[in-house]
Symmetry: C2
Subunit: 455 residues, 2 copies
């Protein structure tokens, strides 16, 4: 019986550069637009929210962007992250497929999010910033920024979607242990929050609303900036450490993926593992099938419209072209809070439009089934978000079995589920439902997309 | 600014042998006795509970015991565990001390416990055993055995102390996700449990009672054995992978500890990190100060009696000579459930009697203060048990500062606190109290120690 195998890189193999896929795109990414003028944004438009170094990364087309040495030093606490060959899972599935997974739950916050939280805190510290505001859904991002803020001595204020704030007191406690301030959104601390609460005092909140609150607060003060945990180009850029390491580890294994699977909420763990492989393909390397897995209850890639839209509910952000369900869309309360966003990263949307990736939507019960099967075989209990990727990878492996062919499948296990045990309790207790979004609400949200003047 | 440093060993450095301190003890360990005859136990006396290979390890005086290759293969999932130089913490404390910590929270169950759960499951599987019973307090051990059982296809039944069962549904959910059956103790499934419940239907349970239940069930069936997560010689033996790795990592760092600190409940994480260093000292190597940190509310090493006692409440176990508060002693409900045991590992008790180690007791609030300080500096949130070691290490570092001397401090960070966030919430909410045991209860429990006939 051969056991599951870990491929662990030496520390010297922690990437020295992030990989910027903008350099290799066959068609350039449509620019972000100013919501008033509908003209491409200039750096000044973003200056109230981000330090210049991050704005430069947001629009850069350089292929390689150097990782500052202090960031690499902190990465060393948990990077290189291990890549595993899931031999035990392969045996349980009785599949000829080879299944590999990159495991990002080894970070102190338990997910891939610190990969970008640390450089964002670093660049803000360099720019003299004293405080960062942000939003969080399930809390993976909020706790990661809280962690990074503690390391650099930056105050962090997190607007946590009300429904998660109430359901996940332990994530909140983790943020507070790191020294961050965590408040339920919508809150009374911003105009955006007060407006929503005036309409409905018990509003459950949404990522779109929490973003509005965090952006509003950051824009008001010179020593305060805003940090986002997904969607933006520079965030996906930072996450490419995942894929760059995975490429080296697949080489150690003497293998190369035929299929890559990752879950998509805002798109950051997906971009992180996929872009380095896709970039190699675009530069003439081996073609890889790439599958994005999203929740059926919030299916931006499979059911959204590819259009310019706002990133938040109060329409304080720029317009970006992306797959969107409409900025007023509120998904039902399924358990993968990190995937409950109305839009998708412009970069991920763009490569979907170019036909470079596929997308598939799953209901949550099938994802938890896969997660439990994975935990019993491999010993790691995945986050509900990551269960979507596990489901996708298992289905690819079962297809191999059906077809009697062996393929190499790589997926990103973006985080552990230690803070999400209520979801597992609900699953075992038969209390989980396969939720669907409201079709008429989606139609209304899409009808409300900003009208664009002809270019 | 130099950052905290990780010392990571190559996989080939995962120990091939466990280290057995019995080989180097200046005075042999007093034997375990049969409770009826009070004569030293023979292997047959333990056969209903453990497979022969573990019984042999329990009484072995061989210095090195080979780790079976399938166990090493599974260890590879998370071993070698990292050792860190806590430079960020040193800066916060402004101490001339060098602080190193071995981090065992990287295992799938989040603590050092899988180091012994995996070999125990392996040897039982080899012996044809179909089911393992065990007890758990905070749940670290129960979830580790559940994990190991899943890997080897062995059914696991966990008796979880009632008060923890109610307080920690997430730990229970983790065990169930791994496929184990977890029931509250005292239960109606055993005579021991029913007897207790007849006296008091809402009994909060204790580790001593849960052990009685697990032992009773295992003794009844040929295909069922019992597994213990601490205290016994073979358990501490398996944990020496921690210290053997740490010795290699200290060598990588070009350093050697002046002081080693670890927390003690049953003694397994303490023995794991300490024994390899202590063994080297006993064979003529450098002398190391060794400090055991225990909770003031359950202070077996500092306030218990060194005497023969039972390991459980129903007196189903052999008699072992150890520091004990009496098998009927019920500690107050402080938050480090893994340290709420009336006894201490005979090996740890023995070296304490020989003057080879010191022991110190702390109240819980000071430990949580240390844990939060550690989390903000180093990014890792410790388990409440581990906070005792953090407190001890920080106090050693502050003493260095006071004395103006630099010493090298090594401590064992035996697990993360992701499943213990309620304790942090209580701490931040000011709801934590510094609990003390009841002096008259202790006196009564000690008065009830078994009377020993003269040898």
């Amino acid at each position: 019986m051969s056991d599951s195998i870990k491929y662990l890189l030496d520390e010297s193999k922690i990437p020295k550069f992030w990989y910027n896929i903008a350099a290799d795109l066959p068609v350039p990414l449509p620019p972000a637009l100013h919501p008033g003028t509908q003209q491409p944004l200039g750096p000044d438009d973003l200056a109230p929210l981000f330090p210049l170094s991050l704005i430069q990364q947001e629009v850069s087309t350089e292929r390689e962007i150097e990782i500052p040495e202090p960031v690499r030093e902190i990465y060393r606490q948990w990077r290189p992250a291990p890549l595993f060959r899931a031999r035990r899972l392969e045996r349980v599935l009785d599949t000829p497929a080879k299944i590999y997974y990159k495991y990002e739950g080894v970070s102190p916050a338990g997910s891939h999010k610190p990969n970008t939280a640390v450089p964002q805190a670093f660049y803000n510290k360099e720019a003299g910033i004293k405080k960062l505001t942000t939003e969080t859904g399930a809390g993976q991002w909020g706790s990661s920024l809280a962690f990074a803020g503690a390391l650099f001595g930056i105050d962090v204020q997190v607007f946590m979607v009300r429904v998660s704030y109430d359901q996940k007191p332990y994530r909140r406690a983790l943020m507070e242990t790191y020294g961050a301030r965590c408040i339920a959104s919508p809150s009374n601390e911003t105009q955006s929050g007060r407006t929503i609460l005036a309409q409905r005092a018990d509003h459950p909140g949404s990522l779109g609303i929490a973003i509005s609150e965090a952006v509003e607060l950051a824009a008001q003060r010179d020593d305060t900036k805003y940090a986002l945990g997904s969607v933006l180009n520079h965030v996906l850029l930072h996450q490419t450490v995942v894929g760059i390491e995975a490429m080296q580890q697949m080489e150690m294994a003497g293998d190369y993926p035929d299929v890559i699977v990752a879950c998509t909420g805002g798109g950051s763990n997906f971009g992180g593992i996929v872009f380095p492989f896709l970039g190699a393909q675009l530069r003439g390397g081996k073609k890889v099938r790439i599958v994005a897995i999203e929740p059926s209850a919030c299916p931006s890639l499979t059911r959204g419209k590819y259009a310019y839209d706002f990133g938040d509910t109060a329409h304080l952000t720029p317009l970006t072209k992306m797959h969107t369900l409409g900025s007023t869309f509120t998904p039902p309360g399924f358990h993968a809070g990190g995937l409950r966003y109305h839009g998708m990263a412009p970069l991920v949307s763009h490569i979907k439009e170019l036909g470079l990736i596929e997308a598939r939507a799953y209901h949550q019960i099938a994802c938890f089934e896969a997660g439990v099967q994975f935990a019993r075989a491999e010993g790691i209990l995945p986050a509900p978000e990551a269960n979507h990727a596990v489901r996708g990878a298992i289905d690819e492996a079962l297809k191999c079995k059906q077809e009697g062919v062996s393929r190499t499948i790589l997926f990103n296990l973006c985080g552990h589920g230690h803070f999400d045990m209520q979801a597992y309790i609900d699953y075992f207790g038969g209390k989980l439902k396969d939720l669907d979004y409201d079709e008429s609400e989606l139609a209304m949200a899409l009808a409300g997309l900003p009208s664009m003047r002809a270019a």
